[in-house]
Amino acid sequence: MLTLRNVSKTYPSAQGPVHVLRGIDLDLPAGQTLALTGESGSGKSTLLHLAAALDAADGGEIVVAGQSLVGMGDSARAQLRRERIGLVFQQFNLVPSLKVRENLAFQARIAGRHDPAWVESLTQKLGLSKLVDRYPEQLSGGQQQRVAIGRTLACRPNLILADEPTGNLDEETSDAVLKLCLDLVEQTGSAFLMVTHSPRLAGLLGRRIHLSAGRLA
């Protein structure tokens, strides 16, 4: 589902170019889960952004759901994100002016594949049934992240990319949210790549890789 071949990324800086990623090779087939760990500044988030078609690599090739991102324009990248990729952020990134119910359906509607029954099922599985008429600001951090996961799964993406999805949650809530997420991923058959600092959480996923100074260890 996700393939990276010899991917590199460099950012300019006042002290000269910073090589964030160097020759990354990675395969993540459908239905598999992968934890990406590494120190701060090791390039984890950059790798995630490249895989999510949010940014373009300087070298190498990235293929998502059979489509190469090389030379892909903004509209095509947006379409790929809409239809194939689901993103879960550490900051939840819910739309503050939409109610939980609307946030859950948000991406699916944009993708044109809104399935009310599936959203209802997700709502129940995520324990959000009583919260659907609330606004994000009226929810706890764990509840907001459950909404964010529901929003991602609602459009049945082929690839889910999560950037420290439990970074703002306590340990107990983190475990509960991640377990729920992995259960649902298993049900949908999506590929799941999660960036995390926590070895404990990384251990809950099927595979684990470590990034150091822009290279896979």
């Binding site: 999510a52 903004d74 947006a78 994100r81 990134n93 503050p96 944009i110 044109g112 951090g141």
Partner: protein, 832 residues
């Protein structure tokens, strides 16, 4: 498509959660549009009236023969020309008073009137045989047969009593039955030429001849046939009125534009704030698969929809404003230029569409930077307060650079350019440069204050005010502009009022002003007055009209009397100006004429006159405020000799003050109220003062509206920023400051910013006043004014600015004071 609609729905959800912000945006756009559209409606309405007046009876389509001097000529000349083969049609025009209204009477000859000579033939006379008496005769026929008809527009006919009524004139005459005709200018009645001559008390005289065709073979020239009494004037589709009133309308447009600009400050602020608040939402949408192009397109659609709705509201409000101001505008135009403007608005659909379009265009201009930022929005940037501070500092640097650039333009215009448009460019550059400098000036002043104070809370107060000034900068700029323009216009108007009052005292030195119905009566009245012991002098106020290098000029005859030499407001003169003028060797000219043709005392001047052109010297220049035409004063004997048809019905009478009432009563009793009109000095000054006040009523009304708009801008900014202020205030609350104290400090902070802005507005306002009086007035009206300072006016505006700021900050402060601790705690929860 569905995807875009959903994206739009998500964007709109922001407004659902922040209705006040949406209201701010709509109000900003609506008031900006309202003031602009209102002013445009006034201009359009006035120009429609000018066009109708210019088109009336062939003014725009046919050449005409007009008297070379004076306003009318002997009807015998018409007969002479017809006999010589000239295809001409007679017209007489003049004003009469009917029930306190001044009505223009136009007399025509339906038989010789050419087809296409203005709306009168096309619409009015061909309106068909719709007669009240059912006689079935066409209007052309009824016009020719007694008692004839008087055709007027619906508004005028209704005001005079309605169709088929026959109102009585001030001079005792009676109008023919009134009939409604379309396309006629307001306060104008068209009737048969013979009837009009009687109504105007000018038997056997005409104002002009419409020239359809001159004979192909001419044995005698026009000058030979008429003895030089008539000259050919080519058709003019603009008309004197439109030319004369251009400055007035440019002034109105400038104020309308300023109000529009101040309104756009609100819009820019509201849209900018909405963008910042929606930045995370936009980023999320982009991350979820909405392309930059689609997102920008949908934002554009959202903005266009909102601005179109606001435009409709604004245009309707503009109509209401224009309706309310129209009577004053009409009075100003009449007082200044003698122009007749309809008292009711009749606007084309294009005006309504233009109102909505200006709202949409204004919103797009105000939102340009936000839309660009949405288009270029980085997808995964995180919130960086330091970067924000840096961006604000960068913005201030750009503003400083733009201000320097505008200041350079202002200096360049001041030194090199001339003309009315250059005057407005100068004023616009100065105002915008000052507005752009304001944020830096405020930050500088607050930084100085922060260094001067000791306590930590006081230091925080100024530091926080400095930080808050960034968010309020647009509203404060709007306030600065509104206050400066108020001070500038207020100073100009009050300086003018002070000058005008003094000038009136000089010009209206006589105790009584007498007007007779005809020259024969005037002579009788003068003789009667001369016999009275309580009358010191009877001074003729006689005048004629001519042109100097194409510019309309009034020639005014004065007699040898100290009333003139003691009182007349001379601006510059030769040492023996009065004696030279009394001797017929020199003239005195008005400031307008002097400025227009760069004439100075000692310069030669030649004045065209039917009794022989007159060559003399300019002996002095005097101020003649409010007169769009030029004026020349010559000795009354010279006037009579050179202008045989000069108007000789008016006198100024010097009377012992205690005898004023007696003379007035005796005069009226001796000659009858219908024959003589007597006005005392006090009354005529009151009338002049009222005209003055009405002239500036529109300017002052627009000024006040602009200040209200600036108040709304400040209120809107403070209210929309209220939530954003919590992260700054919550830590202080946590450190031990009470909500009450914090609320009080918020109030004082808003007042401090408004006070500093108001203080900076004073020098800017004085600069505006200087530009208005020394550049724009001179270009627009031809006279210059001394500028006086009115500190009490500044104090009033400072207090007003403080009240506005405190009122605007009151609600957020009150909310803060009543805010439950849980909401303040949430600030810390959100920071986890």
């Amino acid at each position: 498509m569905k995807r875009h609609l959903w994206t739009l729905a998500v964007l709109l959800s922001h407004w659902r959660r922040r209705p006040f912000q949406l209201m701010t945006l709509v109000i900003g756009l609506a008031v900006a549009t309202a003031l602009w559209s209102g002013v445009q409606a006034l201009n359009v309405q006035a120009r429609q009236s000018y066009d109708q007046a210019a088109r009336l009876i062939g003014g725009d389509a046919f050449a005409s023969l007009r008297p070379t001097n004076g306003t009318n000529f002997e009807q015998a000349l018409y007969v002479t020309l017809r006999r010589a083969g000239w295809d001409v049609s007679p017209v007489i025009e003049g004003d009469v008073r009917i029930a306190d209204r001044s009505i223009r009477i136009v007399g025509i000859d339906p038989v010789t009137l050419p087809q296409g000579a203005g709306p009168i033939t096309r619409d009015a006379l061909d309106d068909g045989p719709e007669t009240a008496d059912g006689s079935g005769e066409s209007r052309a026929v009824r016009l020719l047969t007694a008692p004839s008809l008087a055709l007027g527009d619906a508004e005028t006919v209704a005001a005079l009593g309605g169709v088929d009524t026959r109102p009585t004139l001030g001079n005792g005459g009676q109008l023919p039955p009134l009939v409604v005709a379309t396309s006629l200018p307001p306060e104008t009645l068209v009737t048969d030429v013979g009837v009009a001559q009687a109504l105007l008390d000018q038997p056997g005289r005409l104002s002009r001849l419409i020239l359809t065709a001159a004979p192909e073979t001419r044995s005698q020239s026009l000058a030979d046939l008429t003895g030089g009494a008539l000259e050919r004037v080519e058709p003019d589709d603009q008309g004197d009125l439109e030319r004369l009133t251009d400055s007035f309308h440019l002034n109105l447009t400038a104020f309308g534009f300023l109000s529009f600009l101040v309104g756009l400050f609100i819009v820019h602020g509201a849209i900018g704030l909405a963008f910042e608040q929606r930045r995370p939402m936009l980023r999320t949408m982009r991350a979820c698969g909405v392309s930059a192009r689609a997102l920008t397109a949908v934002m554009l659609l959202e903005l266009t929809t909102i601005s179109a709705l606001a435009g409709i509201i604004g245009t309707v409000a503009g109509y209401v404003i224009a309706s309310a101001l129209l009577p004053d505008v009409a009075a100003s135009l009449r007082g200044l230029y003698g122009a007749r403007v309809a008292g009711e608005l009749s606007l084309q659909p294009s005006w309504w569409l233009a109102g909505v379009a200006i709202s949409v265009i204004g919103a797009l201009v105000a939102a340009g930077s936000s839309l660009y930022r949405a288009w270029r929005l980085p997808l995964f940037a995180t919130a960086q307060p330091e970067a924000w501070a840096g961006a604000e500092a960068r913005a201030r640097r750009w503003q400083l650079a733009a201000a320097v650039f505008l200041a350079a333009i202002a200096i360049g215009v001041l030194l090199q350019a001339s003309g009315l448009v250059a005057g407005f460019v100068l004023m616009g550059s100065v105002l915008l440069a000052a507005a752009l400098l304001l944020p830096s000036a405020l930050v500088g002043l607050l930084a100085i204050a922060q260094r001067l104070v000791r306590g930590p809370v006081a230091q925080w107060f100024f530091a926080d005010a400095r930080q808050q000034s960034g968010g309020l900068s647009l509203a404060l700029m709007a306030l600065l502009l509104a206050l400066a323009v108020n001070i500038g216009v207020g100073t100009m108007v009050d300086s003018f009022r002070q000058t005008f009052t003094g000038w009136l005292d000089q010009r209206l030195a006589a105790e009584l002003y007498v007007g007779a119905r005809d020259p024969a009566r005037a002579a009788d009245i003068a003789d009667w007055l001369e016999t009275r012991n309580d009358v010191d002098a009877v001074l003729p106020v006689w005048d004629a009209e001519t042109r100097y290098r194409g510019f309309p000029v009034e020639v005014f005859g004065f007699s040898n009397h100290p009333t003139y030499s003691d009182h007349w407001p001379l601006l510059a003169s030769l040492p023996d100006a009065w004696s030279e003028a009394e001797a017929g060797r020199a003239v005195l000219i008005s400031e307008q004429l002097a400025r227009r043709f760069a004439l100075a005392p000692g310069d030669p001047i030649d004045i065209a006159a039917p009794g022989g052109d007159w060559d003399g010297t300019v002996a002095a220049i005097y101020s003649d405020y409010g007169n769009p035409r030029g004026q020349v004063m010559i000795a009354v004997d010279e006037l009579v000799a050179r202008f045989p048809h000069a108007e000789r019905g008016n006198f100024a009478v010097r009377v012992a003050p205690e005898a004023v009432d007696t003379v007035m009563d005796d005069l009226t009793a001796a000659f009858g109220a219908g024959t003589v009109e007597v006005v005392d000095q006090r009354t005529i000054k009151d009338i002049s003062q009222r005209i003055f006040d009405r002239t500036f009523a529109v300017t002052l009304a627009l000024n006040t509206l602009t200040l209200i708009v600036a108040g709304i801008a400040l209120l809107a900014s403070l209210l929309t920023l209220a939530d954003a202020r919590l992260p700054q205030l919550a830590p202080l609350w946590a450190l031990g400051l009470t909500r009450r104290r914090l609320a009080a400090m918020e109030l004082i902070k808003a007042a401090t910013l408004a006070l500093l802005t108001a203080l900076l507005a004073i020098p800017l306002g004085l600069a505006v006043a200087w530009i208005l009086t020394n550049v724009i007035n001179v270009e627009a009206f031809g006279w210059q004014l001394p500028v006086y300072a009115f500190p009490e006016q500044w104090l009033r505006l400072i207090v007003l600015a403080l009240i506005t700021a405190i009122a605007a900050a009151a609600w957020p402060a009150l909310s803060l004071r009543r805010m439950p601790p849980t909401k303040l705690l949430k600030v810390f929860a959100d920071e986890r």
